[in-house]
């Protein structure tokens, strides 16, 4: 084979990735030599928002995504609030934190149980000692753990019913706070729902108190936890990860960023920052651009505050609808791993020091985030003050700019808004998977997934390589956001 042109393979459609995805692979001696990631759908929300009254963005933007709808709502509300110079009352902040924290915890739950773990039930693993257990727990559409997790989400999202009216797609998150005041009875129900969520994940996922997982500090702690709580699904994953070497698979070099989340008077639960591979540096978005060099988009690389969205299918070098976000010229990874690195969690710092960002560390970071978010949800629910305001009235805006930065489950989400003469003059969105699944930029630098796929083994008879699926899903992609 040597000397011959490398074999090419187009992989798609993918299931369990929240939308449309196609990956083009160049193979060399059984491994991926290079990858190109294609998001093959364009809906054009940014052009739909142009010219609309600013408050209409609260209706349209959440509808970019049916799984991180609250995160999109919150980014819009924050961008509008910034443009209005509006602060939100304490109760509004708690309601925002509860809604975003509940959505993120539920997204991590669904990712683990419905999207990621079912891949280990594949027939390719029939000989592994854990395969029977994987089938029992995670068989697609039928496994015990999978069905129970889906039922848990439906139940837990009564939090959304109480605080947001419905999920997905609510208008409860307003620039001045939440349109839904909470009374004492509802506060009690919220606390009960969070307690039920804790009980479920402690009984089935961790088979341990959440705090026992949140307190892990290094790889040997993690191994001890897996041995001591072997009946849990987290331990099943860790066993599989060790057997298959998932810490070696799908490695991405960083850097990684977090916009920060859950701000409170005493500081944020998850602070903002840029992880450069060794340390956290302040996050400065002055050097942020979206580069359309390999997207079916006209125009140049611009900061999203000046960005544009003009489809152009005639570009010969283009292969995706996704523009390439770059910070100071670099592709950046976002997600739970980035958040926990920047927050300085010792376990995630230790896993990074070991083998960086990889399939295992990305999944462990999400499990850790479930363990850290639930106690915070308990606290925010208890802190709601039913007799105090939840929302300040919005103020009209004629000409202003605003940026809304939030941490969706899958990573940093930014909305950049410009209002002129009382209408939206520009609305640009960079979603988490836009970062992680970006195509190459003008300098030819591949995006994080494209880098993570290089070197991944592909069997000769594998039309849809299983290792590629592990790597893709370890990022928990949300393709519908990517291609807003």
């Amino acid at each position: 084979m040597s000397g011959a042109a490398p074999a090419r393979r187009i992989v798609g459609p993918f299931n369990r990735v929240e939308g449309d995805l196609e990956v083009h692979l160049d193979l060399d001696r059984g491994r991926i030599a290079s990858a190109r990631v294609n998001a093959p759908l364009f809906r054009g929300f940014e052009t739909m928002l142009d010219g609309k009254p600013p408050s209409d963005a609260l209706v349209l933007a959440p509808r970019i995504c049916g799984i991180c709808s609250v995160a999109q709502s919150q980014a819009t509300a924050k961008a509008l609030a910034a443009a209005m110079g509006l602060a939100i009352p304490d109760n509004g902040r708690r309601a925002f934190h509860l809604l975003l924290g509940a959505e993120n915890a539920a997204d991590h739950l669904v990712h683990f149980h419905l999207f990621f773990m079912p891949d280990f039930t594949h027939a390719a693993y029939a000989g592994r000692p854990w395969h029977g257990r994987a089938l029992q727990r995670f068989q697609p559409g039928a496994g015990q753990a999978l069905v129970a997790a889906a039922r848990l989400r439906a139940r837990f999202f009564q939090v959304m019913g109480i605080l947001a009216g419905k999920w997905p797609h609510s208008l409860a998150l307003q620039p001045g706070g939440s349109s839904k005041p909470v009374d004492r009875g509802e506060r009690s129900r919220l606390r009960a729902l969070v307690a039920e969520f804790r009980a479920h994940v402690e009984e089935h996922l961790f088979t341990a108190p959440l705090e026992a997982f949140a307190d892990l500090a290094d790889r040997s702690d993690l191994a001890r936890f897996a041995a001591r709580h072997a009946g849990g699904d987290a331990a099943l994953f860790l066993t599989i990860a060790a057997d298959l070497g998932l810490a070696e698979l799908g490695r991405a070099p960083g850097p990684a960023l977090s916009y920060g989340a859950y701000a409170e008077a005493e500081g944020a639960l998850l602070p903002a920052g840029l992880w450069d591979g060794k340390a956290v540096r302040p996050l400065d978005l002055a050097g942020l651009v979206e580069d359309p060099a390999h997207a079916w988009m006209a125009g140049a690389a611009l900061h999203p505050g000046q960005g544009e969205t003009r489809p152009d299918l005639a570009k010969p070098q283009a292969y995706s609808w996704c523009k390439a976000p770059r910070l100071n010229g670099q592709p950046v990874e976002v997600g739970a791993l980035a958040r926990q690195l920047i927050a300085g969690h010792p376990l995630i710092r230790a896993l990074w020091a070991d083998r960086g960002s990889n399939v295992e560390s990305r999944v462990v970071a999400r499990l850790l985030e479930i363990a850290r978010l639930v106690p915070a949800l308990e606290r925010w629910a208890a802190e709601l003050e039913p007799d105090r305001p939840f929302c300040h009235p919005a103020v009209p805006i004629e000409t202003a700019q605003g940026v809304g930065l939030v941490e969706a489950a899958r990573g940093g989400l930014g909305h950049w808004l410009t209002v002129e003469d009382g209408r939206i003059a520009r609305y640009q969105i960079i979603a988490p998977t836009t970062w992680n699944f970006s195509p190459r930029d003008g300098a030819g630098m591949p995006g994080p997934l494209e880098q993570a796929l290089v070197g991944v083994p592909v069997g000769n008879d594998e039309a849809t390589p299983i290792a590629v699926q592990h790597v893709v899903r370890s990022f928990d992609p949300c393709m519908v956001c990517t291609v807003h």
Binding site: G12, N38, P40, S55, L58, R63, K166, F390
Partner: protein, 336 residues
Amino acid sequence: MSAPSPFTLLWLQAASCGGCANAALDADPPLFLQGERLGVRTLWHPMLSAENGADLQNLLDRIGAGREPLDALVVEGAVLRGPAGSGRFQMAPGLERPMADLLRDLAGVARHVVAVGSCAAFGGVAATPGSVTEAAGLQFDGVRAGGLLPEDWRGKGGLPVINIAGCAPHPGWIVETLMALAEGTLAPADLDAFNRPRFFADHLAHHGCNRNEYYEFKASAQAPGQQGCLMENLGCKATQAPGDCNRRRWNGIGSCTNAGFACINCTSPGFTESIGPWQETPKVAGIPVGLPVDMPKAWFVALAALSKSATPNRVRKNALADHVVVPPANRPPGGS
């Protein structure tokens, strides 16, 4: 005698946000998790199934060739016909053909075609004014009949495309429609003028709204968070919007109006062609433009004036507060 073969279902995503699939996953009963007990077999669903890539392509090929019987093609998301009619704004991943072509082919072999959500039904959010994608529904383009499929198209089962409208639709609307189809009891007369199942579309979102007393007295909220009626100032269209939203409730106890924000009439074709900001009520000479359906304007004006003049102090005060500031008078049982 062999057991009747289960009703087969294929769920595909056109230009969607995935919100309908997520809503369906939260349904009770859990049709997409334990559907066989309800007589429904999901051949493929974007959040639940194992098949990817080549396996999924093989399944689609078998269905297209008629080797795998398909009872319901369930589509979420709008059909993108652009640019210039090519459909290339959404290519089916791995298949190197526009999604619109794939959907047209599969509609030809399915017994029923079901549009889940207002995008698949009418174009919905994907067809918001300003959209460049030539988005349409499967059998409607906004209020106009005819979308990807022509107005006179009928499935092998005799029904037009069944439009489970909403953004996202209530999970119950999805599951109960599919169960009725599987049972073979959904007839053309069970669909309304926009082919929405009448079991939910013959109601109005207003029915059962817990702001009913404020509505009756036209005691209106002026800002988000206040308890008053949302119709007069804050853009609420619940008195015009098809749906049993406040009768059945969402995510347990919720609803849009219960959470303090306007119904945006998301079950209706063209709901994104709002004539002003969604969260403000358009008015002419102080009177809302969109009056409750079936209500003569003169009567509405007269009744509103009368009820405003009769508004109890309690209702007037509470309407502008974010929690009850004046409780109802306590009367002894049996007192007068």
